[in-house]
């Protein structure tokens, strides 16, 4: 009996003899909105196989050997940046990281100039996080290199959406027909938007819940088929297979979007008592970093239903998959999407 430890749900895509390619031919990953369900499935399946690499004695494969990847982080990030760096190194790529502080940007260099300089150094791929929505599309239009979005403004954070879906898939089987509730500051959240696009494309039903001051007016129409808007947390999670809790940024409280942290926790905080309204198998997710005692209680954060650390492990695998697929797809690149 073959001792296996491996991905689920790949059977349908095993190709016929003589055909061994996957449906993924994009030069950039700018968001989940433009991806098809097949492409998302391809990324998730590939990520499942890449997860095993991080468990080997030598956590490295030569797939991207000789490729140079520049990480440009215009916004602070520890978790995403390290996750990308690990993913790149485990694929044997050469990485260069650039963060805003103490760099030429502090001296006033524009985004375009910074990138033109990096381009002159013949970089193959750029992973960027930037505070302006759409910055990546701007970049993709004039760079030869592939562009991977690590978060742009309030627009999308596609690799987070993908790792969230990968985690859900592992616990729930497939995503079609499942119910996912996203709780928190939906208005300012690129994680929420990527989740909504990815999940609705894969056939899941999404509910968003949060204070009305942080809920965009037209959010119900986002995604493929729209999402349900709910302001009562217990009603929002009554049928949930997974709950994704968004981080409340403390600056929003200063902007008077809610009265106090305490009150937010009272009404929208996820506590063990609130979780009783959800189905028993429901998993709890959080993109991190957590504000314990604000959007999530200590007990839930450390409790059995939270899969937050798995999300981090999956994050490296998903990013490896994205880098591998985008690097491979670049040969067929036409105009940027």
């Amino acid at each position: 009996m073959l001792a296996t430890r491996g991905p689920r749900g790949r059977g349908a895509r095993v190709s016929g003899r003589g055909k061994f390619t996957v449906p993924f031919n994009r030069k950039h990953l700018l968001g989940l909105e433009e991806l098809t369900a097949d492409e998302i499935t391809t990324i998730l399946d590939t990520a499942d196989t890449f997860k095993e690499i991080s468990e080997r004695p030598i956590k490295k494969v030569p797939a991207l050997r000789g490729k140079t990847i520049a990480n440009l982080f215009y916004e602070p990030s520890t978790r995403t940046r390290i996750s990308f760096e690990l993913a790149e190194k485990r694929l044997s790529a050469d990485t260069v990281s650039f963060s805003k502080a103490g760099s030429s940007v502090a001296k006033g260099e524009s985004l375009r100039d910074t990138v033109e300089n990096i381009r002159a150094m013949k970089v193959d791929m750029v992973v960027m996080r930037h505070g302006s929505s759409g910055a990546h599309r701007f970049l993709a239009n004039f760079l030869d290199a592939s562009v991977i979005n690590a978060g742009d403004g309030q627009h999308e954070h596609p690799t987070q959406g993908l790792l969230d879906m990968m985690t859900m898939r592992q616990h729930l089987g497939s995503l079609a027909g499942k119910h996912v509730t996203i709780i928190g500051d939906v208005m300012h959240s690129r994680v929420a938007r990527s989740n909504i696009w990815g999940l609705t494309k894969m056939g899941a039903a999404v509910t968003v819940c949060g204070p009305s001051t942080m809920m965009p007016a037209e959010i119900g129409r986002l995604g493929e088929g729209g999402v349900t808007v709910e302001y009562d947390i217990r009603a929002a999670i009554a049928a949930a297979d997974a709950i994704n809790i968004l981080r409340i940024q403390l600056e929003r409280q200063k902007a008077r979007l809610f009265p106090s942290m305490r009150e937010y926790f009272e009404v929208f905080g996820v506590t063990p008592e609130v979780l009783e309204a959800a189905p028993k198998h429901c998993i709890v997710m959080h993109p991190g970093p957590m504000n314990r005692g604000v959007e999530i209680s200590q007990e839930v954060a450390d409790g059995g239903r939270a899969v937050i650390l798995e999300q981090v492990t999956n994050g490296v695998a998903v990013r490896m998959a994205v880098l591998f697929l985008v690097a491979g797809g670049s040969f067929d690149a036409g105009t940027p999407e």
Binding site: L2, R17, G18, V22, E52, P57, F324, G329
Partner: protein, 216 residues
């Protein structure tokens, strides 16, 4: 080769493996994805039957170690790699269906030694079709099939395909997709169409071929 010949050949290889390696307990069979894996399983089963020793089976996917990753035009599917025992100090029997240029085996060797330091690696293949591009040879061979560069050899196994057969075919020009090399690296991407010689087939028509033994 038909199903019965394949079975007998596998039995013979299993015996040869045991004959060559006194210490059966130290063996690990590792199949190369995809079709090397069921072959490794069958070998382990056979050895278990006449030796009474259960030889562990692993699988490796060599896609990420291919030497043509930067050149092929589309991304290949990455299969599962699962080696659940420590390979250091053990004897690995690498198993694959067809040995051709030897590039796949080179990739497999590089990948294996990233898992540990085996005391030896031996190679077992069902078919050796010649045309080596690297100094690689098999220790255990099911059948030697001399071929020309324009021919293909495909092994069909019931675990993966709907039948059990070894087919000799001919490369169809318009199906070649890879931009470099005769066939874009170690894996022939062309569809095979059966030559008249392959009337060794028991029946007609897998999805790739229409009609029996007709040259197109």
């Amino acid at each position: 080769m038909d199903a019965l010949q394949i079975h007998r050949t596998i039995m013979r290889i299993a015996h040869e493996i045991v004959e060559r390696n006194k210490d059966v307990e130290s063996l690990i069979l590792v199949g190369i994805q995809k079709r090397g894996v069921p072959l490794a399983e069958r070998l382990s089963h056979a050895i278990g039957e006449f030796e009474g020793v259960r030889v562990p089976v692993g699988a490796i996917d060599i896609t990420l170690y291919r030497d043509d990753l930067q050149m092929i035009s589309q991304v290949p599917i990455v299969g599962e790699t699962a080696i659940n025992s420590d390979i250091t100090g053990r004897i690995i029997i690498l198993v694959d269906d067809v040995l051709f240029t030897g590039r796949t085996v080179r990739a497999a060797l590089d990948e294996l030694i990233d898992f540990g330091r085996p005391s030896a690696i031996q190679l077992a293949v069902l078919v050796d079709r010649g045309h080596r591009e690297f100094p690689i040879r098999a220790d255990f061979v099911g059948k030697n099939v001399p071929t020309s560069p324009t021919e293909t050899v495909e092994v069909l196994l019931s675990e993966i395909d709907s039948e059990e057969l070894v087919v000799l075919g001919e490369v169809v020009e318009e199906d070649i997709e890879a931009p470099t090399g005769k066939r874009g690296g170690s894996m022939p991407v062309a569809k095979a169409k059966p030559k008249k010689k392959a009337a060794k087939r028991a029946g007609c028509g897998t999805k790739a071929k229409k009609g029996c033994g007709k040259k197109r």
